[in-house]
Symmetry: D2
Subunit: 264 residues, 4 copies
């Protein structure tokens, strides 16, 4: 492990970097060549060298073998659906207080981008239980989780959470499905008292209905936010924001479980 | 620990919630009363009860004893300076890949809001080394770190990082000072190869100079973003965004350490 | 008139400017003193001098007698309600094609901020017919229109437009009321074929219902936008956006009147 | 003219509308067919009919002959450069107080998008003098101005404004060139006292230098803003903002001419 922090091994994941627009998340294999428009790279040459190392392509272009972050794992996930963006996921981690050892419930695995980030946040001392009804997503999520080296502390349930949730005393819950409303009472039961939940919704109508459902299902502190991110092209003497930006991914509605006197 | 997840103990931190605008991060003490405009609350009554519990004030108003998240620890920090916001900190955690066990370097402790979040992310298996030259901030940061129960895996250095940084092989670095430029070469030396760094700057001029300095000091993948957050007032039939929002906190410039062939 | 473009007369409106945060829209009167925290200004001294002139207060501070723009007339309007902002009004003028000679219909005069801007855009060759049911607003709007010297080409109707609209062949229509839906068919009748209308709404629920109503009432090209504006504090070497911004005023839903074959 | 407001003539400009994504600004000509993926339209059939009329394509699809607005003239301009957007232009018109009869100076005609909007705002009683050094832009701007029927109250100067500006007593000025600084003193001389000017700049560095130059060249009330616009996809039950938005066009720096006592 300590070694893996410094040096690239056979099997290590790297962020192969050419420039801001051309970078790839790939696995180093001793006999693999990686082909780009700037020539191919002999990945075997990287084994045993430090992360951050320079490597030349067959056409003598310079590439760098950077260390991938959770952000890269999310943005380079294989996906079939719209995923949550790091701007959203980062805020969710803080608002839900996900940290080493947390036990997290996720409804709606999708491609597993949020699952990867949650698993990274809770680490091997924690666990993520994630529900997904669509079989075709489970396979993709598993691949993304395995690549991120977090599959061992994630349990994927191929089941419909609106029929009930296994287990209890979760520290936090993340809901990312089109119709969260029938699931919310089950989530309430599964959470620890005072614990936080987020529901992610692309439409404002979902937000309204989710807000109402939280308020009527034993949650307080119900708040919705949206998050924007804008790139700045910093270049001395001609610095300006990027022309195009993502204007919308989804709204995040947060809430916390409350217990009436008779429920304790 | 497991107990602390469920029940409020003498000494537990709670988020005492009245409504969206009135909530306080306070420590439960057996003989303490907490006074609000809606009457006082006898905190001793909460000891032994679940997080999420209802509690009545002396004037019979209902309050809730919620579990505080990292977000609450940040937003309710005692502070003397402008702090980074959760929208920024969440993104930084993902972009830097902070996770359980990471060894993090921070330059510019300030009030310790980012320090708390980094420490929460790396957990007791990790460590945060943070530098602050101004003595008056160190005391405040210590209080904030202690309250968040992370002081034992943080080391505060009352020293000027531009004179050099102790230790090496850091997994990531966070710079939050007005003049990061003389510090960047030291940060380069202290980081592992391929590792990520962020510099947080309120002005666009700092961003330009930081971008240049990173590019000339052995870093690649230099990118700057700004992040916005907008509250939505969800209320069935009359949902609208909040009138006022925070338009700016600071820019985040990210980079990753590279090693030229001769440096490895 | 030509004189009024250059020189301040007894009765001229000026923007008295001290600094970015302290500026007032006032009428010059020969015997009036205007009092500020930086001393008073003898307005009579300005009569006959050029717009843009320097004037000293009784405490020897420098003020400037600038020419007010439509923007200033809007932002310094006496108001009882939330007004539309210049960022919204400017876009409306372009999307509705308001220009010299246009005949405009407005439903919901309010304090008259939009009315002033529409009247400025159409000029004395055009006309604005505006409807307002609440008597207390009419008086205020009249004062704002008079101050802007556009009252003579505005007709204020103290009537409920949902009971019908006088006149026809309007070039464009602006709706700024909480419940525009019963009014929309009347607006359709009053507009020229192909002409544009906008409805301004603070909530997203109004937008949904307005969009539907437009689509079912003989309108096409139905589009909604929201507009944000952010101040930049430009200061060489320490340039940054303003910390606080307006996050929401309202949504603008635009549409154009269509005629089915049998209606022409 | 009055007729032109109601009925489509041979030579009228229409906005041919199919849906939100497919609309064209075209000139009706008696013998012209307009071809689309949904069949062709015999434009001659529209002559004498009302704006807003329905028209069937050869494949029996329904199109609408809407009235184009200033917004459409801008967005459908032939262009060789980045143009200012209606969100920016609308605000400029209000901040500069452009209205019927104003005499406006523009430096940097470009494709003429701003010129068209300024000319529409000032009408035939006003005039726009616009400077452009690049011959290839002048021809394009002329075509755009002619199409918008405003060429007769615009004078295009194929000259470098930094060598001096013809005429004086302008009510307002618009600067849209990469290096406005040598031009600003000439603009000062050409403006009436107290009058407003805007400089449009894509980079923040231009903003800094322009702000400084205004402050040292006899201008006060120097302010910079940026404007964002976001589309909302209103659709009952599934309303959400558009995924992609324009994140940046340029910054607008406004100022007003002042006269020191000795200058009057």
């Amino acid at each position: 492990m300590s070694n893996d922090r410094k040096s690239i091994a056979d099997g290590s994941l790297i962020l192969l970097y050419f420039d801001l627009r051309r970078q790839w998340l790939i696995r180093v294999e001793r006999d693999r060549q990686f082909h780009t428009h700037k020539g191919f790279i002999d990945l075997g040459l990287l084994v045993g060298r430090s992360f951050g190392s320079e490597v030349k392509s067959s056409l003598s272009y310079t590439f760098w073998a950077l260390k991938p972050s959770t952000h890269d794992l999310i943005m380079h996930s294989a996906r079939k659906t719209q995923i949550m963006y790091p701007k959203d996921i980062g805020l969710i981690i803080l608002k839900l207080g996900l940290s080493c050892g947390s036990k997290v419930l996720e409804i709606g695995t999708g491609s597993g981008a949020m699952t990867v980030a949650a698993a990274k946040a809770v680490g091997s001392a924690g666990h993520v239980h994630t529900y997904e009804v669509r079989k075709e997503f489970i396979e993709m999520a598993e691949r993304n989780l395995k690549r991120a080296s977090v599959l061992e502390f994630v349990t994927i349930h191929n089941a419909d959470a609106s029929a009930g949730i296994e287990g209890s005393e979760f520290d936090a819950a993340i809901i990312d499905v089109g119709d969260p409303w029938p699931i919310i009472p089950h989530v309430h039961k599964a959470l620890l008292g005072g614990a936080a939940v987020v529901s992610f919704s692309p439409t404002i109508n979902q937000v309204e209905k989710t807000t109402e459902t939280f308020a009527h299902s034993g949650f307080a502190n119900v708040q919705t936010v949206e998050c924007f991110i804008r790139e700045i092209r910093a270049d001395t003497g001609k610095t300006r924001p990027a022309t195009i930006m993502v204007g919308h991914t989804g709204y995040m509605t947060f809430a916390q479980k409350i217990l009436r006197l008779q429920e304790e």
